[in-house]
């Protein structure tokens, strides 16, 4: 057991402090180069540095390379390659506005190393009912999983601190589930994601000093998707991510096509005089999680963030219950 505890502690410390110490200089550099965007939910004209994905990927790469030194398993290599590719895809989208299909298609290609390195098990495990072997179908699942988790996290990156805060809850939940299922190596491999998210949340929480951008959100989402695949916890991962999945589902079922948020004309939410957020009556606007939360009345940005975190904790509890149910057979 000691051979697992030491790499776990070292990688978690590195993951946290690499992001913690590299983000402030990154903010300075981005502000100096005028790589900023307006914070739309602030009364004053506040410009925020972007993208923070650079410090996020640095924390992940450093901690996972250290873990590879201890474990030398293909799963870590697949995670490193796919997550770095997702970061680069997001970075391109941060610098240049790409079409709606750019991210899903390129993220699907980014998932290929998982297949080529054989870092997956084609048995899909369901709670209570056991597993089902689906070799061909599983390849499709691998290719679809990364674009789905990447874009799902990207779609909830709408308010200060929400993407990173939600990622803290979802990724630690996934790590707990992997420990429950006694998949210790992958559980340790998954821990840096939670610590990277936690360190980044310090600067991303309201009022944000930096935004993750597409590069950060896709890095979070892609790494989460890879962990789900290499850990064989695809169903549990989907459950822990349900509030973000609901957001994507509501968006797609109201818009009825794959489209970039910036291409949508209708506004789902607007500001009150005291700069709270409230749901609009615009029928052309997409239905989103935030719009549903605001259906009961206006809330501050902070209150909406905490409402999403509470939903994340609720789905996290459901995911942990599901992990216990995997060991039970009907």
């Amino acid at each position: 057991m000691i051979e697992l505890i030491i790499p776990a502690i070292i990688s978690c410390i590195l993951a946290f402090f690499v992001v913690y110490f590299t983000t402030p200089p990154l903010i300075k550099i981005l502000l100096k180069k005028n790589y900023t965007v307006k914070d739309m939910n602030k009364k004053e004209n506040v410009m925020v540095a972007r993208p923070g994905g650079i410090s996020i990927i640095l924390g992940i790469v450093v901690s996972e390379i250290v873990l590879y030194g201890f474990f030398q398993i293909n799963e870590i290599l697949a995670l490193l390659i796919t997550t770095t590719a997702a970061f680069l895809i997001g970075y391109v989208d941060d610098r240049k506005v790409m079409g709606g299909w750019f991210k899903p298609v390129t993220l699907a290609i980014a998932a290929l190393p998982i297949i080529f390195l054989g870092a997956y098990d084609s048995d899909l495990v369901f709670p209570l009912f056991g597993d089902v072997q689906i070799p061909l179908l599983y390849l499709g699942l691998v290719i679809f999983m990364i674009p789905i988790t990447g874009n799902t996290i990207n779609s909830i990156d709408v308010l200060n601190g929400v993407a990173s805060g939600f990622m803290v809850i979802a990724s630690f939940t996934l790590s707990i589930c992997l420990f429950i299922l006694q998949n210790y190596e992958i559980a340790i491999v998954s821990l840096p994601l939670g610590f990277v998210s936690l360190a980044f949340y310090k600067y991303h929480k309201i009022p944000s000093k930096i935004f993750p951008g597409d590069s950060g959100a896709l890095t979070f989402g892609a790494m989460y998707g890879v962990i789900a695949i290499i850990g064989g916890v695809e169903i549990i991962a989907a459950i822990a991510l349900l509030p973000a999945v609901i957001n994507s589902f509501l968006f797609l079922s109201s818009v009825k096509r794959v489209v970039e948020h910036r291409q949508i004309k209708g506004k789902p939410v607007e500001h009150t005089d005291d700069f709270k957020l409230k749901a609009t009556n615009d029928k052309t606007a997409p239905v989103t999680l935030v719009r549903l939360i605001l259906a009961a009345g206006p809330l501050t940005e902070k209150q909406i963030g905490f409402a999403i975190f509470k939903l994340g904790i609720f789905s996290g509890i459901l995911a942990i219950i599901t992990a216990f149910m995997v060991g039970v057979s009907l």
Binding site: L124, F129, A285, S315
Partner: protein
């Protein structure tokens, strides 16, 4: 907010039930009479059935969404 928690719980129940149907329908399914190609044909049929199940799952989810959020979705 209670509607959102209800919807989350409904999605979770649908995932558990959907998993049971997947294991029950696809798990034991196998074709042997096509020689070396039997695994491709078996996988192809499994993919088709799985896709149909996903479409049904999404349709049920849409109905559940409209039922739970009938008041909120009158934007």
């Amino acid at each position: 907010m209670s509607g959102l928690y209800g919807f989350l719980f409904g999605m979770w129940v649908l995932i558990i039930i959907g998993g049971g149907i997947m294991v029950g329908l696809l798990g034991p399914f196998s074709i042997q009479q096509f020689g070396d190609f039997h695994w491709i044909i078996t996988s192809g049929i499994k993919v088709t059935v799985a896709l149909i199940l996903v479409v049904i799952w999404i349709l049920i989810l849409s109905k559940l969404k409209n039922y739970i959020f009938k008041k909120e979705l009158k934007f």
